[in-house]
Symmetry: C3
Subunit: 128 residues, 3 copies
């Protein structure tokens, strides 16, 4: 059920992009109860000048290339699950050759009724 948008600057090699996408999915499976075959991801590449980031926010030394990982998923994960997810995604970033500081994650939560994974039908039964 997550839909994941990963945005990176052009120039990150295909293997590293794929490694990051693999790692983000693995993090969702391991920490956030996402089924292994529930994987839908887009990798967006933009010219480096089109990916703009602060170098100092919250004391984090962003140097780039940064990866913006935006995850649309069902609401209801606990704070602890989200913390574990962030940590695991940072690990995935390192495995993909990014600096730990340079992987941003944003979660956007939706309701169960808001998904159709194909076939024209609502994928999950609505909450009672």
């Amino acid at each position: 059920m997550p839909l994941v948008r990963i945005t990176v600057p052009q120039g990150v090699p295909a293997e590293r992009r794929r490694a990051l996408a693999d790692g983000v999915h693995g993090a969702l499976v391991e920490t956030a109860s996402v089924p292994p075959d529930d994987r839908f991801q887009v990798i967006e590449e933009v010219p480096p000048d089109n990916l703009i980031f602060s170098r100092t926010y919250l004391g984090l030394a962003h140097t780039g290339p940064m990866a913006f990982v935006q995850i649309f998923l069902n609401q209801g994960r606990t704070v602890d699950v989200k913390k574990a997810l962030y940590a695991r995604i940072a690990d995935a970033g390192i495995a993909a050759g990014f600096r730990r500081e340079d992987v941003l994650v944003n979660l956007v939560e939706v309701t169960r009724e808001n998904w159709c994974f194909g076939g024209g039908v609502m994928s999950y039964p609505p909450a009672p």
Copy 2:
């Protein structure tokens, strides 16, 4: 009021991309009370390797090319409206040459105050 992001792999011809966008908008008009002239859509094309999808989730045989249709809209549509919307978007996908299984829809709901369609003004009166 919807803002629609349609993501497809590169290689889908312009006519099919446009047909899908037309069909998604038509589905919103017919099922979800969207005014016909309330149409704002982006079609994103990414290299096929950058659009990653499970081939088996929920028993749906995704073969691709897939289209990810993400719709940002005001909250408040009923479950029945959403179901009708999904069905109609799948029809639109077929009309645009996609397999019925290969059109994913995700709704992201926001409040009425969260739109400015231009001119620097809030487009809808806030909920009382």
Copy 3:
């Protein structure tokens, strides 16, 4: 904390894209209590035919090029803050060479727990 996606048609020169991004960030700082160094933005350029917009919705004469400005941010801004933000972003659009009518803004609000700006840690303490 905002993550900003700015979508424009290909052909808008780099200086104007940057001016718009600068202006959107300035608007967030001036009207919505965003720290100056809390800036994370993506500019997406798509072929003009892939950015589809009504020319008449709500009486606004959209002629293009349009800019779609989507801002993911923490919930809680008041209606007045949002109104001020829209006005200031429209000003920013003009300064960047866009018509006032041609800058669309959509806010998507999330909770405080939904951000990791890097380093694998939750960036803001959860709401009590």
